[in-house]
Amino acid sequence: MKPAPFRYARPTSVAEVVGLLATHGAAARLLAGGQSLMPLMLRRVERPALLIDINRITGLDEIEIQPTRIRMGALVRQEQALRSPIIAQAVPGLAAALAWVANPVVRQRGTVIGNLLTNSPGAELPAVALALGAEFAVRHAGGEEIMPAEALLGPQRRLSPQALVTHVLWPRRPARAGFYEVARRDGHAPVVSSLVTLTGEDCRVALSGVCPTGLSCPAMARMIAQQFPALPATQELARALEEDLTGPLYADAHSSARYRLQVAPVVSQRATRDMILQAGAA
């Protein structure tokens, strides 16, 4: 359970990282918080020839207010985002979800973007990014581009090995936010999680763990917005979910696809209940 040998680079600028990726691309891995990558390297499942440690790059740990977006750098830690008053006010859905991610020690090292890009089935944040309409700022040798969350977090990931995700951009949207999650055990990997946010009539519903990648659920969202402040029944949410399901279901050793599908409306309903009970920023 020791990593296989690798070469190690510790660049101090984004340009340097991009240069290394341009040369080494698929044989390299980027190390930020390490909470996802290191366990894989320790089991020798990941065996990069080159490990690019980005933790010393300055300027990537900021949460910045822009006119319509909150811009969050690749080194923003999960706990930092959880405690940020900017996020609490402008992206409350993210704050609500972060409280359920892992535990305080992992969150103080793990990054938001790292968690997003690892994109584990069932993980809370990728579904949230999809539902909230987040975007990624991606740098490569040719320059920078902005990519929608679907491009990196959907079933077809389109992220080049030569690219570095430098920022995630969250739409500024004060909202009521509610979150709920079911796991095999408190603090263990999420099986199904759901975020529900409401701003006026704009409702967003994120669902993780039902499909291999996160789901944004507009049909469920419409129903919740229509019935607000009443709580939709789970059977109604289940019917709406059928519309929102776009791809194959996910299953693993812990929970079957059937269970995930059965429990998703319950989880979304509880997230909705949590949202309804919020003091309300909308």
């Binding site: 366990p39 089991r43 020798r44 079911v182 095999r184 055990r185 269970y259 319950v266 309903q269």
Partner: protein, 774 residues
């Protein structure tokens, strides 16, 4: 009026200082620069013939400090031991390294040495092994059929061990029964999974030139004997030390290949060698626990009396015997628990399969047997429309019958005779503390989506025994007393407990008593730490040694004063001369006087003793679990957990409570979370704690613990063991609570864990026409 720090007090542990400050000496802390790191090359196949093992990629690598495969082992090397076999058992012993055939994924094939564990792992990856797959046997029912593929063709069967019991006339009782209950329970495979993995170091003892093996083991003395037997080394040339052990729970109560291999590596390559098990490895390299199937049939009268029980246990013991793989049979012999049930038949068969060997794991078969009996109790009550508590009351052995001969026996226990107990009192106490009477009101007040359930269990289990226990008590030059005990510290606080027992016995303060443990130089003949025997056996041995010590002190005092030893009386920590009662003699004064007369006191004040009595005693407990079942998500939480426990006289209730709580949470883990899985090709699917879910603090219930003491007449201290009772009753109490929460119309699954949210939702949906969602 209790004197401070003595027997019965909730004394805080003396061992905590170093542990709290990170200065505990665990196995890995004893590794020194220059030692070679050993990596074990393990089979990736569950059942195969090895057609080749190619070391050529590493043989000439200067980083490779040595390689050993089966071909390199000394001729005549012994097999690993199995301690609990009955006559006629097939000799399914494990070899130190697999020879031609591997029988489980993870079985050691070879070892490779390097300067550190990183390089050793690199080198191991470059060894190429070719396999020719053989037919897999992954299920115990399939394995026990006549046409099953055989793990050991020469045995003719995969059933390698069998015991049976018979009391009274069960056939007649079944023929006459008003109601029959017939249930089969499956127990999943689990891993003891202590937070410290295993490890071993072999070196030459610089002081004596002997072989010195350190191992994270519960049984250093047995390990020494077995290492000597297996390798042919003279036992006098071998010393084994168990350092501070980071949890054992039975998985470290075995003799493992790696312990032999570090010693062989030292012999072969002349270098001190260490091996630390990594966590991924541990899930296939360390013995598993619990996997068995129990079919329990009960004959019940119209008045709820259970007149007979027939128990059939099929244990999946994995690919070979471990040190104690046949204990399910022992527990099944006691499946009737605290109930009269005058007629009884049982059969326990151990079946080999292509999985990691099974060993004892906290409770050693009693958790499973207790669940079977206690589920059947609830089912019988339901069948007869009797209250669950009432049916138990009617069937419990009353206290006036003790001692009770149960009419059964098995290896390690010549006759099961319950020494003492008060089962009705246990039941009353637990019902009281858990609020049983008010429970229906509590249930009614629970929100619709959360179903509450309450479950009971009563457990009687064997503790102690294991063989005679030595102890040595002597006076050190600085005036402190030193007890040498064969008990091994694995976290249970035996040091503090033994000091309390000894302090009480001697009338001294425990602070003045030093305890040394775990070193075969000090206690070569102790069996070690298991079966909750540490306090009882170790404590009784310590008192015997203290008595011998006192005799020597009296002799010495008499000699110094020119008097008669009969005139010297030991009282409250000092010697009192009947002729000079106003001048009591402390040990310190005795030392001074001896030295003044040219006598070396330490040589004289040094006593050994052996506690030889058959000190198997029977602890008992009544458990009650209150669970909450979320009908929407299927998630189960254990809210409250009550235990009334009887382990005879309790030396330190604080520590006993700690053992009970730890055991309960391990049982909870098995009920709700834990399972070792294999895929259809026999490959282990459990690689770490993402796969293998352990309880965390959020899983812990609110505990309500009480004690009843019915002293054991079997040993002078009146003590019984307490290390396992938390586990032994927990599976049953929680399973019964889950059944209660699901309601009478729900079929409770044949399996007894883990009760995953998936499974719960399936059960909730299984009654037609009912909406399980809110």
């Amino acid at each position: 009026m209790m004197a401070p720090g003595k027997f019965g007090q909730r004394l805080r542990r003396r061992e905590d200082g170093p542990l709290l400050t990170g200065r505990g000496d665990y196995l890995a802390d004893l590794i020194e620069p220059g030692m070679a790191a050993m990596r074990v090359i393990r089979s990736t196949q569950a059942h195969a013939r090895i057609t080749s093992m190619d070391f050529s990629a590493v043989a000439n690598d200067p980083q490779c400090l040595g390689v050993l495969s089966a071909a390199d082992l000394p001729a005549g090397i012994g097999m690993l031991p199995a301690a609990d076999l009955v006559a006629g058992s097939a000799p399914a012993h494990q070899s130190v390294l697999a020879g031609e055939v591997v029988r489980y994924a993870g079985e050691p094939l070879a070892i490779i040495l390097a300067a550190d564990s990183y390089v050793a792992e690199d080198l191991a990856e470059r060894v190429s092994v070719q396999y020719e797959p053989l037919a897999l046997v992954m299920d115990v029912s399939a394995a026990s059929r006549a046409d099953a593929p055989l793990l050991y063709p020469k045995f003719g069967s995969n059933v390698v061990h069998q015991t049976s019991q018979r009391v009274g006339d069960p056939d007649l009782a079944f023929a006459l029964a008003a109601t029959l209950i017939d249930e089969t329970f499956s127990f999943q495979r689990v891993s003891a999974s202590s937070m410290e993995t295993r490890g071993a170091i072999a070196r030459i003892d610089p002081a004596s030139g002997r072989y010195l093996v350190h191992s994270s083991t519960q049984i250093p003395q047995i390990l020494r004997r077995e290492l000597a037997r297996i390798t042919g080394i003279n036992p006098d040339a071998l010393r084994v030390i168990a350092p501070q052990v980071g949890g054992g729970f039975g998985a470290k109560e075995a003799v493992y290949p790696e312990e032999v291999l570090v010693l062989l590596a030292l012999q072969r390559f002349g270098r001190a060698t260490y091996w630390i098990e990594d966590r991924v490895e541990s899930f296939s390299a360390s013995c598993h626990g619990r996997e068995e199937r129990i079919r329990l049939r009960a004959a019940v009268n119209a008045d709820g009396m259970i007149t007979a029980v027939d128990a059939d246990c099929l244990a999946d013991i994995g690919a070979a015997y471990s040190f104690l793989s046949n204990t399910p049979g022992a527990a099944i012999a006691s499946v009737r628990g605290p109930y009269r049930i005058p007629n009884f038949r049982s059969r326990a068969r151990s079946v080999v399969t292509n999985k990691t060997p099974l060993n004892v794991y906290r409770g050693a078969g009693y958790p499973q047997a207790t669940l079977a009996m206690e589920r059947v109790m609830d089912l019988a009550a339901a069948a007869l429309n009797l209250d669950r508590v009432e049916i138990r009351r009617r069937n419990l052995l009353p206290p006036e019958l003790f001692p009770v001969d149960r009419g059964v026996s098995y290896p390690g226990c010549d006759a099961v005779v319950f020494d003492s107990g008060n089962f009705p009192a246990l039941l009353d106490s637990t019902l009281d503390v858990v609020g049983y009477e008010g429970f229906e009101a509590r249930r009614a007040h629970s929100p619709a989506e959360l179903s509450l359930g309450i479950g009971l269990s009563l457990v009687v289990e064997m503790t102690g025994g294991g063989g005679a226990e030595p102890a040595r008590l002597r006076l050190l030059p600085d005036g402190r007393l030193q007890l040498s005990s064969g008990i091994v510290p694995i976290g249970q606080g035996s040091e503090t407990t033994l000091a309390q027992i000894l302090a009480e016995h001697l009338g001294l303060s425990p602070e003045g008593i030093e305890i040394v443990m775990g070193d075969t130089d000090h206690s070569p003949d102790s069996p070690g730490t298991f079966a909750s025997r540490g306090a009882t056996m170790g404590g009784n041995a310590a008192c015997l040694a203290a008595d011998a010590f006192i005799r020597r002190a009296r002799d010495l005092a008499a000699e110094l004063r020119g008097g008669d030893p009969e005139d010297m009386v030991w009282k409250a920590g000092v010697l009192i001369d009947r002729n000079r009662p106003a001048e009591p003699l402390s040990l310190a004064a005795l030392m001074q006087q001896a030295a003044a007369q040219g006598i070396e006191p330490a040589a004289r004040l040094d006593a050994t003793a052996r506690y030889e009595d058959d000190a198997v005693s029977w602890s008992s407990a009544c458990h009650a679990a209150v669970i909450e079942l979320d009908r929407g998500t299927g998630v189960i939480r254990v809210l409250d957990y009550a235990v009334t426990h009887d382990c005879g006289r309790v030396a330190n209730p604080l520590l006993v409570d700690g053992q009970i709580m730890g055991g309960v949470v391990q049982g909870l883990g098995q009920c709700l979370f834990e399972a070792i899985r294999y895929d259809p090709a026999g490959a282990p699917q459990t690689q770490g704690y993402v796969d293998y879910i352990l309880p965390t603090a959020a899983s812990a219930p609110r505990f309500m613990l009480r004690h009843i003491e019915t002293p054991s007449p079997r040993n002078p201290l009146g003590m019984k063991g307490a290390g396992e009772a938390g586990c032994s009753g927990a599976l049953a109490a929680i399973a019964n609570a889950i059944a209660d929460a699901l309601g009478p119309r729900r079929p409770v699954p044949e399996g007894s864990g883990p009760f995953t949210p998936d499974l719960v939702r399936e059960i909730l949906h299984s009654v037609r026409g009912e909406e399980a969602a809110l």
